[in-house]
């Protein structure tokens, strides 16, 4: 029940974020979506994800607000709105159809069907010594994935440092 209320709130906040004219209000609405997602993770009993979602959301909001606080860009909506609306509705219909047929095939909530998951849950603490099974999975059983994720972050930091470095922004002309 709380989950459905949160989902409705998130959809509403997302619509507000798109439709509102003021850029700063739009950023605040995006933040509301993120914090509702954090609460949804808590209700689904995933505190690790909730903590990570919360702190990353705060960092993103700080960067977005600092980027938008001085520039209040007016949004312009013009032309071809009939075609845009019809295309959006058509894609929503296609998405709902496939989501409905996919969700019917899903197992019941909290009911792992994969044999691997059951093995992790039963033997995780004994094999790794870590009580927090999420950490046991991401840093022991699935450490390869974490290494890949760390590489992705490393590459993105290298890219940002290379694009935003001082000698790269000489005045042209």
């Amino acid at each position: 029940m709380e989950l459905h209320l949160l989902l409705i709130f998130m959809i509403f906040a997302a619509i507000v974020a798109i439709e509102v004219k003021d850029l700063l209000s739009s950023v605040v609405a995006v933040g509301a979506v993120g914090f509702a997602l954090c609460l949804a993770f808590l209700i689904l009993k995933a505190p690790d994800l909730a903590i990570t979602q919360l702190v990353v959301e705060i960092l993103c909001l700080i960067i977005l607000i600092r980027a938008t606080i001085n520039k209040d860009l007016p949004l312009t909506i013009e032309g071809r709105w009939v075609f845009n609306t019809l295309a959006t509705l058509a894609f929503i219909g296609v998405f709902l159809f496939f989501a409905h047929s996919a969700l019917k095939e899903m197992p019941a909530f909290g009911n792992p069907i994969m044999a691997v998951v059951r093995k992790y849950l039963e033997e995780g603490t004994a094999k790794t010594g870590a009580v927090n099974l999420v950490t046991a999975v991401i840093l022991d059983f699935r450490a390869y994935d974490t290494l890949g994720e760390a590489t992705v972050l490393f590459t993105s930091v290298i890219g940002i440092m290379a694009v935003l470095r001082r000698p790269g922004r000489k005045k042209t002309g």
Binding site: P47, D48, A50, I51, T52, V55, V56, I58, L59, I62, I63, R66, A67, T125, T128, G129, A130, V131, N132, V134, T135, A136, I138, L139, D140, A143, Y144, T146, L147, A150, T151, L153, F154, S156, V157, I160, M161, L164, R165, R166, R169, K171
Partner: protein, 141 residues
């Protein structure tokens, strides 16, 4: 920023860093872990920078130091992975498991958490510093 913000920041930044270190060190015992703890530590520095301005924050940690620390974190994680070869395979947990629910348990997992937190925290801080420096020199032009 105003005097109130500066005073509150001076009081709370240390506590936020301490909480981040707690989240990192207890990643194998309670919810949290390297990623979340690293972002909390980065947020403490961002908080400091918002209150005291860019120059005060840049005097604490420069961009070169940030990128060096980030590379150090990545290399630490890779070294932990390669250390598994001492026992036979990649990412093998070579240290002793210890008793559950103790701080010093789970072999290499706390070390991996520390490496990930260093990498993630300083990496995000480096991104923020790069954006701030860009904005500053953009205004000078």
């Amino acid at each position: 920023m105003s005097l109130i913000v500066k005073t509150v920041t001076r009081l709370t930044v240390g506590l936020i860093v301490l909480f981040g270190i707690y989240i990192v060190l207890h990643g194998h015992l309670s919810p949290g872990g390297g990623f979340a703890g690293g972002v909390i530590i980065a947020l403490a520095f961002v908080h400091f920078m918002l209150a005291f301005g860019k120059d005060a924050a840049l005097s604490k940690i420069s961009r070169n130091l940030a990128s060096n620390l980030e590379s150090l974190g990545a290399l630490m994680f890779l070294a932990i992975a390669l250390a598994g070869f001492l026992g036979g395979s990649f990412f093998l947990n070579i240290l002793s498991k210890g008793a559950p629910f103790k701080l010093f348990s789970a072999g290499t997992i706390p070390l991996s958490n520390a490496a990930i937190s260093l990498k993630v925290g300083v990496g995000l801080l480096a991104i923020f510093l790069a954006l701030v420096i860009l904005e500053k020199s953009g205004k000078e032009e």
